[in-house]
Subunit: 200 residues, 2 copies
DNA sequence: CTTGGAATTGAACGCCCGTTCGGTTTATCC
DNA sequence: GGATAAACCGAACGGGCGTTCAATTCCAAG
């Protein structure tokens, strides 16, 4: 038995990525073996090397794909307009996007140290692109007198950290649904930048 | 050569913990070998087992020690009194404590998944004790009409996530010193809970 | 119906892992 | 100063690691 019937690179390829994403998120890159990934897909370990030159490249692709999705999704979700509107949209977008892809997000934040220097640089560059988004919004908000911040740079990383933290506790079927969580965080974001409208 | 002159468990023991902490924080628990830890200490791998029954216990002790330090340090730093005062103290305490122990903090947040189920439970229990601190402060603040929050529970985890994020970017010798960072985060915390005094 | 490439197996390679253990040197206690 | 325990070395154990490769089977095109 060598080539099983029904085998198809168009099917197996995505399954390899999905399995790697699940396992890397659950146990960490270093703790997951190529044999485990292969077992999850239902193939032998050797066959993985038709889909990636090595384990490291698998991680690199997962991260870059995620960041590409993130940046292009925001490009489409960005309403433009005044800073308050954009901040509200950004907060809600970030929560939604992160709740929809917990595994990819987890990897992107936790496995930076598992990347080779070259891959790290590539990933870090895109990550900074994303961090620049709220920073611009906050600077505009301060300039327009709609936000009060001692340090927009720190505030923007604080904002991202706050929002990203949602993945550490949110579970479907819990006390709050996604829409409620989105609203709560959007409101907290407004307070963070000194532009709170009202809460209750 | 078997027992080197000058060898002393009272010296080597802490060095083992320190080396493990450094390496685990830098590369991750799974990616660090006992031989690497031993090499950092300057002993053979086998000698490590005079100081820990196994690798897992080493991680467990690092985490529990850190959380014990964290809880007892706050017990001493807690000024009591009104919620606004306590929140300011908590935010400043959290920033200070985390900036002083970046490695221990990193491990405590990133290596939860590397713990055996029993060890995870023990660590998680103490972690929830700490999370209960801001939650109480925020509930008291809302009850006293000094804070405006739709959901104190979510706000408290958001607060912790925001504060802990300082370790992802702060470096000594950068644009801001620790005292400045402490103040900025304390101010952001006030805004987060709807109690901002003033910024600029 | 043949042919050629695509998809995969399964064995193998060398290496490193966590852990154990007998032996050896150093410190300590009486 | 002789015995006992502490601290450590160095080799070894079985096993899993990432990766390679010849062989094999399936599929699609001619």
């Amino acid at each position: 038995m060598a080539r099983p019937s029904g085998s198809d690179a168009g099917v197996t390829g995505p399954r390899v990525h999905a399995a790697a994403e699940r396992l890397f998120a659950r146990s960490g890159y270093a703790a997951v073996s190529m044999r485990q990934i292969a077992a999850e897909v239902g193939i032998g370990a050797g066959a993985l090397y038709h889909y990636t030159p090595d384990k490291q490249t698998l991680l690199r692709r997962l991260m870059l794909d995620h960041l590409k999705d993130l940046l292009s999704a925001w490009a489409e979700a960005d309403p433009g307009g005044d800073p308050i509107t954009r901040l509200d949209a950004f907060a809600r977008f970030h929560i939604r996007f992160h709740l929809d892809r917990p595994d990819a997000v987890f990897i992107a934040y936790m496995e930076l140290r598992s990347l080779d220097p070259d891959n790290f640089s590539a990933v870090e560059a895109r990550r900074k692109c994303y961090e620049a988004i709220p920073e611009t919004i906050l600077r505009d908000g301060v300039a327009a007198g709609r936000m009060r911040l001692a340090d927009p740079k720190v505030a923007s990383v604080a904002l991202i950290a706050m929002l990203t933290g949602v993945n550490t506790w949110y579970r479907d079927g819990g006390r709050l649904d996604r829409a409620a969580v989105e609203g709560i965080y959007a409101d907290l974001a407004m307070g963070l930048v000194g532009a709170r409208r009202g809460a209750g």
